[in-house]
């Protein structure tokens, strides 16, 4: 699309949980806002990659009952999701989690985006670059179009703006990057209670032993979606032969994740359908639009939140949100290792983590805010992404208004 350059107060790159919150919040402050998203829906990993629970919404606490850590946008999403699924927060061990359904999430996001008159949503819009100009940013689009905004929010998950500017970011070594996973939907009548899940584990190992399943099936787990007859499967993947080649920004590597994920899912579901009476007739009903990436580039901001600060439950004068999810290490494809903070304390996220160092009129939100590798294992969850998105949208609108 060519023609006149469109001008906005605030532009948000990426409509995942962070960009959704950022764009809606900016528009509510009165900023003329545009949300630019390459997929056909908002929600990011929570829709396109079928990640199906909101973590980090609630405080860690011993007492029963889930308490929102960051009321505001999180509270709105929570209410709408509970209304849609009929399921409230659930406690697993020491954490409270809200089950979410990607199908509902995309629809809820549509409704919330459409309700803001000052907000233009543009799906199927790939941003290819940005250029700093006198009083804002020029944005280049894959279709050749250009836009201009007074304040920019990078909610791309991958810190794409840092990539284009050629610096100001960090990436963990490939061998320790949090591993990716492939999530898919299954139509299946099995009851996934404890006994059902253990039987699945046993049958999968049998298949692996017999050479009937690829070794990546060791990373498989299944969880009920909350809808009758529907189950989500997840395959944790190494991202390469031994994980050392994993590059979440390399399309060749991502391609291998997609094809491996589909192959493992297909073969495992067929294997179970042939051997477990409860799985008889089961089939893969839903591929994700993309494999799930937990960690890639992280911005280096005016403050870099550290794992030690998360462990200690640090507080900051300029904190804009609380991180409450334990650091969920996924450095191998062998399942999570949780690192809890001292006394279940929440950790403040300072506004400085949303401000790339030395760059004006630019904010960052979501899983690529300025943290180290360990702290990101807490701040990447969607509950926290909503909260950092909300703060980034508010700040961006202020600058655009000045």
């Amino acid at each position: 699309m060519s023609g006149a350059v469109r001008r906005f107060d605030v532009a948000v790159i990426g409509g995942g949980s962070a960009g959704l919150a950022a764009s809606i919040t900016a528009a509510r402050q009165g900023a003329r806002t545009v949300l630019l998203e390459r997929q056909g829906s908002a929600g990011g990993m929570g829709t396109a990659a079928l990640v199906h629970s909101f973590c980090g919404l609630y405080l860690l606490r011993q007492e029963p009952g889930a308490v929102l850590a960051n009321p505001g946008f999180c509270g709105e999403i929570e209410r709408r999701m509970i209304e849609a699924t009929g399921m409230g927060p659930q406690r697993f061990g020491r954490v409270d989690v809200l089950p979410q359904h990607p199908v509902e999430f995309a629809r809820i996001a549509d409704g919330m985006l459409a309700a803001e008159s000052g907000l233009e949503t543009r799906f199927h819009t790939v941003v290819t670059g940005v250029e700093r100009e006198a009083d804002g940013w020029r944005i280049d689009l894959a279709d050749g179009g250009r836009m201009f905004c007074k304040a920019l929010v990078d909610a791309s998950g991958d810190a794409v703006v840092a990539g284009w500017l050629g610096g100001g970011f960090a990436v963990a070594p490939a061998a320790v990057l949090q591993r990716p996973a492939y999530v898919f939907g299954v139509r299946c009548g099995a009851v996934l209670d404890d006994a059902g899940r253990l039987r699945v584990s046993g049958l999968l190992v049998e298949g692996l032993r017999a050479g009937a399943l690829p070794s990546a099936a060791m990373g498989l787990s299944f969880r009920a979606s909350g809808r009758p007859g529907e189950v989500f499967g997840s395959v944790d993947l190494t991202g390469g032969v031994d994980g050392a080649e994993f590059d979440p920004l390399d399309p060749a590597c991502l391609t291998a994740l997609e094809t491996t994920g589909r192959r493992v899912a297909h073969e495992a579901v067929r294997h179970l359908a042939e051997r477990d009476p409860e799985w008889m007739g089961a089939y893969v009903s839903h591929w994700p639009a993309r494999a799930g990436i937990r960690e890639s580039r992280r911005w280096i901001g005016e403050h870099v939140l550290t794992g030690d600060e998360v462990t200690a439950g640090a507080t900051f004068e300029d904190q804009i949100a609380l991180a409450t999810w334990p650091m969920e290490m996924r450095e191998t494809a062998r399942g999570p290792k949780l690192r809890f903070p001292v006394d279940d304390r929440p950790c403040g996220i300072p506004l400085r983590c949303l401000k790339p160092a030395g760059l004006e009129r630019l904010w960052v939100a979501g899983r690529c805010i300025s943290t180290d590798h360990e702290a990101q294992a807490s701040t990447r969850v969607m509950g926290t992404c909503f909260a950092t998105g909300e703060a980034a949208g508010r700040e961006a609108a202020k600058v655009a208004d000045a």
Binding site: D194, S201, G202, V205, L208, M218, G219, L220, T332, R334
Partner: protein
């Protein structure tokens, strides 16, 4: 058979071994009758456990062996492995 040289494990050895294999992260004072599921033994860890038990103790746990009761604690797990070794 290599497995015949292995002695069946006692619960405390199992705790050390599971930590060493990276199957679970159990505290040094994790009780022998502590709840393994509460300690993180999820379905993926169960698969790894089955493979690791086969490597270490030379016994094949079948889907029928994998009950919530048998895997509940280091004590019940040790009994399960010992039963399969004899």
């Amino acid at each position: 058979m290599a497995s015949s040289k292995k002695l069946s494990p006692n619960p405390t050895e199992l705790i050390d071994w599971m930590n060493g294999e990276g199957l679970l992260e159990l505290d040094w004072d994790f009780p022998e009758d502590g709840d393994l599921f509460a300690a993180g033994l999820d379905s993926m860890a169960v698969m790894q456990l089955v493979v690791a038990v086969e490597d270490e103790y030379g016994v094949e746990l079948t889907p029928e062996d994998l009950t919530k009761e048998a895997l509940a604690t280091p004590t019940t797990l040790a009994a399960l492995i010992a039963g399969k070794m004899s």
